[in-house]
Structures are given as C-alpha cells and as structure tokens.
C-alpha cells in the first residue's frame, strides 16, 4: 500500500514537472523582462508571434521542442550538417543577436559565402519583425546562464558567424 502511494506520488510529480516544462517551452510561463533582442526588451506579444512563426517555419527541421534533428552532430551523406537544436544543448546561444538575425534572414550561405546548408534564407519568406520575433521566442526558452552568456556576446559583438 505504502509502496503504491510512493509510486503514485512519483508519477504525479513527474507529470507536473513535464507540464511545467511544456508550459515553459510553449511560452506560457516566459518572463519577458529577462529577454531582449538587439538590446530592446521583448514583449509577450512578440514571443507569442515568434512561437507561431517557429512552429510554421522552423520546427520541421529544428524540432517542435527546439531539439534539432536526430544525431545532429553527425554529418549527412551529402556532407551537410543536420539542423542543430536551438535549446541550450546546441550552439545557437553562442551567437550574437546580430549574427542570428543575419543567418536567419540571409541563410548561412549568405553570411559565410560558399557554405552549403539546408537552411533557407528566410528574408523572402518572413518579415524582419517576424524574424526578430522567432529569435525572441527561441531566446525566451534558454536558461538564465545561456541568456547571460549570449547577452555578453551580443553586447561585445565580437562577431563570429
């Protein structure tokens, strides 16, 4: 009896944690005051728009939960790299806001001439406002440490690509 109670409690706690995690990723519990883009505070409306744009344009490759393609560190047969995750397990947070905007708008090849990638240049698909919103949404999902590191990279804009 006692053992069943323990198991039930564990399941309940796990379920609550899963719901909380999902809520966080879906933007329902985002603290917008912690998120900026290009030095400007981000609003909850921008994040909601970004979440919608992400689902429609990015999730098919980068994953509904920003987890990236499976085995994303291993090169594809054609030599190209799979879509990386945009959560804290990836390297998106190592790039400045300026770089992220440019890569999204121009494609990786637009920033690094000659680079072959399956990533589209979204400049002709999304408006600048939509690109900023989707990046704000991605940033809103990062833990504090990753947001802080990325804010310093953006502030110093040491560049990188």
């Amino acid at each position: 009896m006692k053992r069943n109670l323990v198991i039930l409690s564990a399941i309940a706690v796990s379920a609550l944690a899963a719901v909380a995690a999902l809520t966080q990723v879906q933007g329902g519990d985002v603290r917008t005051e912690d998120v900026t883009f290009l030095g400007q505070p981000v609003t909850s409306e921008q994040i909601a728009l970004g979440q919608e744009v992400y689902a429609e344009n990015c999730a098919s490759c980068h994953g509904a939960s920003l987890e990236g393609q499976p085995n994303w560190k291993r090169r594809l047969e054609n030599g190209r790299m799979p879509a990386p995750p945009h959560d804290e397990s990836g390297h998106t947070w190592h790039h400045s806001d300026q770089d992220l905007f440019a890569i999204t708008k121009l494609g990786v090849g637009g920033v690094v001439p000659g680079y072959e990638s399956d990533m589209l240049a979204f400049g002709e698909i999304l408006t600048d406002e939509e690109i900023a919103a989707v990046l704000a949404f991605i940033k809103s999902t990062w833990p504090e440490r990753q947001r802080d590191v990325q804010a310093r990279i953006t502030a110093s804009d040491g560049g990188g690509s």
Binding site: K73, R75, M81, H94, V111, V112, G114, E116, G158
Partner: protein
C-alpha cells in the same frame, strides 16, 4: 572567405604522412604475426613530443623523459597501446595525456611514470591527436580516426562527441593534429585549431562549424568592407603532422609538416618556414614561445630562438 566545410578543393598530398607511416608500421607488425611485440613494448610508437614544464616527454621508439640535467630517463608507457599523440597543460605539471594506437586515451599524473586508461565512452579507434583546453586543464579533446572530435570535461573520465570531421574536397577528412588556442572566437569561447591531410582548419569551442583560418572574422569583413590583410598560408594540400600554440603567447603557432617546421606569429594567417627537414612532431615550451623542440628527419632537434637556429638534442 572560403567555406572550409563544403567547398574547398585542394590537391591531395602525396608526400610522406606520419599517419600513413604509422598505419603501414602497424599493419606490417600484424602481417608478420608479432602482435605481442606491441604489448611487450608499450609506448613504442610515436613520434610525439610535449613539454611538461621544463621537461621534455618523447615518444619515439620508446617513451622517455628529460628534465634537462640528467639526460633521458626511459619510461614504461601505457600498457594499453602505443602512443600516437601527447598533450600537457602548463597549470597541471606532471599530467600527460596520450592518444593511443589501440584506441582511447591514457593519462599520467606523475610525469609519465604511471598511466591510467581514460577511454570510457570513446570509440575503439586510434587517437590521432589530443590537446588540453588552455583555459580548462580538465578539458581534453581527442581526434578519433575515422570518427571525429570528442571532448572530456573531467580529464578523460567521460567523453562526449563534439563535432564531426571537416568536409574538405568532397569528403570527410581525419584530424591529424590538434591545438587549443587561447584566443577569443567572439562567441564566448576560444579556438581549437586542427590539422588534416589537406592542411589547417579550426573550429570554435562551441563547435558550430569548421572554418578556414582567416584574419578577423566573417562578420567583420562583411560589415566593414575593409581590404583583407596579407595572408601567407601553409603549403596547400600538405599534411599537418603536429600543431602547437604557445601558452605564453597564443598567437604563436608551430606546425610540423613534411616540408619542415613552420611558424606563425598571428594565429595562423601568415606562416614562415623555419626548417626544411621533414617534421613529424613539434612542441613549444609553456613559458618561452621561442623554445621549440621537434622530431624531424634529422632526429630530435631544438631551437631557442623561435626556429631561426636548430641544434640536435642528444638522446644518450
């Protein structure tokens, strides 16, 4: 900027390659049915060389150590296999990481006298190159033949896959040399430089992509429109047998190539040839960027003036 990942087309080097030589040696040993010979003489592979403080650690035929005054002391070496590569860190005197022909890493904490396997999680393939992160002495990188770049943040106790091999001339290329270079990438970390059979390449330690070495960075060049500074790259298509960055002056790089020892003072943009004898391994003193030791076709040599003059180091 050239795209190091995808579009570079370089001539394949037909010159002598240290890895090719080692491969042939190991294959030859197998063919003549003497597998026990490797067990009987662990550490008998090389060539590899590293400074441990002022001391030199040398893997060439056998493993030995010289502290400068009492000549060379023979060490037993790892039992798990021969040594393909060596790495040390100036803040961890006595710690030596060795990449093994049999696969995996061996670690010594006492200057090479005792060795412990640190291979858990690594693929079972030769470790062609190893380096210790300059800012994090417990972070070790290993280049696995036929696989890619692996990373450990606990001195080799556990490993994670970090990055696939670079894509050059329409194929993935093995890494033949590694060097942690303590220069900011602009992405919150520092660089890892690497050698391949086709030349030099580097990756930020966030592992976003392999890229050519160039002055500044891609964004700066695009935004400012400034003319590109002078470049004098390493000879095109030549295998890099070894690569080091001076801890005391990270922009100082030395590379061991079939064409000789090369030196760069600006983190790999402009290179100058410092010797024309085939070079197999190179090490730089942690506190003196002008003090270089190398294994070459002329044997073990040393320079105290950044490669301008070389003298033979006695092994007796």
């Amino acid at each position: 900027m050239k795209d190091a990942n995808m579009t570079t087309t370089r001539r394949y080097s037909t010159r002598f390659s240290r890895r090719a030589f080692l491969g042939a040696m190991v294959a030859g040993a197998g063919l003549i049915g003497l597998p026990f010979s490797l067990r009987a003489a662990p550490g008998a592979t090389g060539p590899a060389i590293a400074f441990d403080g002022d001391a030199l650690i040398l893997a060439e035929g056998s493993l030995s150590r010289s502290d400068g005054t009492d000549g060379w002391m023979e060490l037993s070496g790892p039992t798990a296999g021969g040594i393909l590569s060596l790495a040390t860190h100036p803040r961890r005197l006595g710690r030596i990481a060795a990449g093994l022909t049999s696969g995996g890493i061996a670690l010594s904490e006492d200057g090479g006298h005792g060795w412990e396997s640190r291979s858990q999680g690594l693929p079972d393939a030769p470790v062609a190159a190893v380096t210790v992160a300059t800012a994090e002495p417990d972070t070790v990188y290993a280049a696995i033949c036929g696989d890619g770049l692996w990373k450990s943040e606990d001195a080799g106790r556990s490993w994670v896959f970090a990055m696939d091999r670079p894509w050059l001339a329409d194929a993935e290329r093995d890494l033949t040399a590694l060097a942690s270079v303590d220069l900011a990438t602009g992405m919150g970390g520092i660089w890892i430089y690497a050698g391949t059979e086709l030349g030099l390449i580097r990756v930020p330690d966030c592992f976003c992509r392999w890229q050519d070495v160039q002055p500044g960075d891609a964004m700066d060049a695009l935004v400012s429109g400034k003319p590109a500074p002078m470049e004098a790259p390493l000879p095109e298509g030549e295998t890099i047998n070894a690569l080091v960055s001076a801890a005391s002056s990270p922009t100082r790089l030395y590379a061991a190539l079939p064409s000789g020892i090369w030196e760069s003072q600006d983190a790999g943009v402009v290179w100058s040839q410092k010797s024309s004898t085939r070079a197999l391994a190179v090490a730089v003193h942690p506190a003196n960027a002008d003090h270089v030791a190398a294994i070459t076709g002329d044997g073990l040599v040393e320079s105290r003036d950044g490669g301008a003059n070389w003298t033979a180091l006695a092994r007796g």
